[in-house]
């Protein structure tokens, strides 16, 4: 007895293969992580007498651009996964590489945003608005980097599994995709909370 059950096939009770259940649990803990940061943001903002208006200080057009980049990347992940389900491996890889490129695009735009702030000597030490901004977008950016690492691994040395066990590989892409949607969703909350309100 060596084989670990339900790595590929769904479990009759939970209806999920183990990886998918695991990624949902991981995302639950991520919700608690960002939930704590959002709660802190609310508490600090409510407790402050002079909280600046984000739209006057931050670059909304760049953030809009980044929002579109992330939403499109979420679509390309789904297209990649769907292509795998249809057995169109080449197309799937193309869509996933596009996702990776879009993720890099997001980071580059973010880099310009940060750079503009640093060149005006604005840092987390400036005030708590900027501290919140840098901490939350920074942590979100790290999640983007994590996502890139996962996709690049799955597209390069991890793609051997595609030949050996396409279903298992498709599951992995699905889990990575779920994570990617979550990272996208966090941004959907960060954007109005920091830039617009």
């Amino acid at each position: 007895m060596d084989e670990i059950p339900y790595t590929v096939k769904p479990h009759p009770l939970s209806g999920l293969y183990s990886g998918k259940l695991g990624i949902w649990l991981f995302l639950a803990s991520e919700v608690m992580l960002f939930g704590a940061l959002f709660s802190s943001y609310i508490l600090l903002r409510v407790g402050s007498d002079s909280w600046p208006v984000g739209s006057e200080l931050l670059n909304i057009p760049l953030a809009m651009l980044n929002t579109f980049i992330l939403i499109i990347s979420s679509v390309t992940v789904v297209l990649g996964w769907a292509s795998l389900k249809l057995g169109e491996h080449g197309k799937a890889k193309m869509y996933l590489w596009v996702t990776v490129l879009l993720a890099f695009g997001f980071l580059i735009v973010k880099g310009f945003e940060y750079g503009a702030k640093f060149s005006h000597h604005i840092s987390p030490a400036t005030n708590n608005f900027y501290a919140t901004y840098f901490t939350m977008t920074g942590l979100h950016g790290l999640h983007i980097v994590g996502g890139i690492a996962v996709f690049v691994y799955l597209l390069t040395s991890g793609s051997k599994l595609l030949e050996e066990n396409p279903e298992h590989y498709t599951n992995r892409i699905e889990c990575a995709g779920l994570y990617w949607h979550f990272v996208d969703l966090v941004w959907i909350f960060l954007f109005p909370a920091l830039y617009l309100l």
Binding site: M1, D2, E3, I4, P5, Y6, T7, H11, L13, S14, S18, G19, L21, G22, L25, F26, A28, S29, E30, M32, L33, F34, G35, A36, L37, S40, L43, L44, G47, S48, S123, P124, A125, T126, N127, N128, Y130, A131, F134, T135, L139
Partner: protein, 583 residues
């Protein structure tokens, strides 16, 4: 410390793994469990040693520590006398090490990893590689904590709670502490996902949720607490790290004056925010410490009293409600912060409610003894001692949960006595019971009973001499982090009791020598077990070969009945294992 390689290799077709894959970077849950357990036992000893040193300063303030004092640097112990800063480091690191590097890794990483997959009949954890990663993230976290003693200005010294703004302005050791914590949180995240998925997905046929051993239930609920309570502390840790490294002011209010100097920061932060985020983790963490212990004790009490677990379903519902409630009691640690009576009343009420399921569990454990024919191996002695010790710890917590009484007792030695009764003669006794109980499954040999009984009785007496006087010291008003209580008249009055605690601690430390000798000696020389099931237990971990080979079960077991069918009327023997069809 061994995986099966002598007799049972014929069950699977394995490629022989090189040494470092088999024992160092192993993905086998049993090896990882042993790695966790041994590391955690080391950290427990280390954390205890820090405290034994502090107890010298408390018992004999300002006197040079004999012999040991000479080993330390001039900065920490000039002339063998401990300086207050070093005392604070020892205190903060004692708490951190005991909780995050000792008890939790032993209870969850050690016992959980080793026993849970066996009890659900699984070949391994759901994600063996993540499991390995969990240990190899935990270990650097621990080493960073240890190394922080060599940081400039020493290790973290703002208490294990690291309250801001004190911790914001503390020396570099605090930054190391935060980085170490981020490692430990990541490790527990990987572990907890694994535990939950394994319990849900890998239960063998016939093993429904209400046939799971109570130990597995306890680990299952604990994993949810780790999964959901730790991330807010990670967020808080990141924010404090930003405050310290990037100069932000999340936890620093405007106009903060330190040593007569206005602190040069933007300000506008909120120190209470740290406390809320910290206790949002650290209260569920208390249940992370206690739930696995309840699980271990329930296994040992049923098997040694030859009786079913009294009220099994009620216990399961109780432990689930403990899990839920533990998320909404955190601010009872903060009655003194002036957060307002409405908040205090809410948390006071939830705190009183959470004591109900705890009392149900404890009562049911005691009732399980009723009508049994009880055996008294060392494991059972520790498990039995757990019940009254944990009861003392729990009941003395009630006055702390009521705001009126807490005003007087808050932050005194009473608090120390209360939670140590829960965790030391409570959880740690249960963990020691677990070591004695599962040792034969892991090694194929029993631990020595004579040494075990010496260890138990001296520990039981010693630990009560340590903590019982602290209730009175605390009620006399002595604050928990005082470096020298004799400087105050009310403290000087009870100095005798404090010295008594210290002697108790050293006595207790001496008792552990029996355990350490026994632990290593029995590995090669202990009495060999004749069967795979030396205690005549019913749960699945005893259905494997001894020690369990890679893949655990030669054939996939099938479960026919509940976990605690002892002394069933009409059955062939006084125990009916879960995997045997004919009871």
């Amino acid at each position: 410390m061994s995986v099966a390689h002598e007799t049972h290799d014929d069950h699977g077709h394995h490629v022989e793994l090189p040494f470092w894959r088999k024992y160092v970077f192993s993905t086998d849950h049993k090896v990882i469990g042993i790695q966790y357990a041994v590391t955690a036992l080391f950290f427990l000893l280390f954390g205890f040693t820090l405290m034994m040193m502090m107890r010298w300063q408390l018992a004999y303030p300002g006197q040079p520590m004999p012999l040991i004092g000479t080993f330390f640097s001039e900065a920490n112990m000039p002339g063998g006398i401990m300086v207050p800063e070093f005392y604070n480091q020892l205190g903060a690191m004692h708490g951190t090490i005991m909780v995050f590097l000792g008890v939790v890794p032993l209870a969850v990483g050690g016992f959980g990893n080793y026993v849970l997959p066996l009890q659900v009949g699984a070949p391994d954890m759901s994600f063996p590689k993540l499991n390995m990663a969990s240990y190899w993230v935990f270990l650097p976290g621990g080493l960073i904590m240890l190394a922080s003693f060599y940081a400039e200005g020493g290790a973290a010294q703002s208490g294990w709670t690291s309250y801001s703004p004190l911790s914001n302005t503390a020396p570099a050791g605090q930054t190391w502490w935060l980085i170490g914590m981020i490692f430990l949180i990541t490790s527990s995240l990987l572990g907890s996902v694994n535990f939950i998925v394994t319990t849900i997905q890998l239960r063998v046929e016939g093993l429904s949720f209400f046939r799971l051993p109570f130990f597995t239930w306890a680990q299952f609920v604990t994993a949810f607490l780790l999964l959901l309570a730790f991330p807010p502390l990670e967020a808080a840790g990141v924010m404090q790290l930003m405050d310290r490294v990037a100069g932000s002011s999340f936890f620093l209010p405007s106009g903060l004056v330190i040593s007569g100097q206005l602190l040069d920061v933007a300000g506008g932060g909120n120190p209470l925010l740290w406390q809320h985020l910290f206790w949002f983790l650290a209260h569920p963490e208390v249940y992370v410490l206690i739930l696995p212990a309840l699980g271990i004790v329930s296994e040992i009490i049923t098997v040694n009293s030859r009786r079913p677990l009294w009220g099994y379903r009620t216990l399961v519902y109780s432990i689930i409600s403990l899990g839920f409630l533990s998320f909404i009691v955190w601010a009872h640690h903060m009655f003194m912060t002036g957060m307002g009576t409405a908040m205090s009343n809410f948390f006071q009420t939830t705190t009183m409610i959470i004591s109900i399921p705890s009392v149900i569990i404890l009562t049911a454990l005691a009732l399980s003894l009723n009508g049994g024919s009880i055996r008294f191996p060392t494991s059972m002695l520790f498990a039995l001692a757990f019940i009254p010790m944990f009861a003392i710890g729990g009941l003395t917590g009630l006055p702390l949960g009521l705001t009126a009484a807490d005003l007087h007792l808050h932050d005194t030695y009473y608090v120390i006595a209360h939670f140590h009764y829960v965790v030391a003669p409570g959880t740690v006794f249960a963990l020691l019971a677990g070591v004695y109980h599962w040792y034969p499954k892991v090694t194929g040999r029993k631990m020595n009973e004579a040494l075990g009984k010496l260890h138990f009785w001296i520990s039981l007496i010693g630990i009560n001499v340590v903590f019982m006087p602290m209730f009175f010291v605390g009620m006399a008003g002595v604050s928990r982090r005082l470096y020298d209580q004799t400087q105050y008249a009310y403290g000087a009055q009870v100095q005798g009791l404090t010295a008594m605690s210290s002697w108790g601690a050293w006595f207790l430390g001496a008792a552990q020598i029996f355990f350490i000798i026994n632990f290593f000696w029995s590995r090669k020389n202990g009495e060999k077990v004749e069967s795979d099931n030396p205690w005549n237990a019913t749960t699945l971990e005893w259905a494997t070969p001894t020690p369990p080979p890679h893949g655990n079960f030669p054939e996939v077991p099938k479960v026919y009945r509940g976990p605690y069918e002892y002394s069933v009327p009409g059955a062939k023997s006084d125990f009916s294992p879960q995997h045997v069809e004919e009871g």
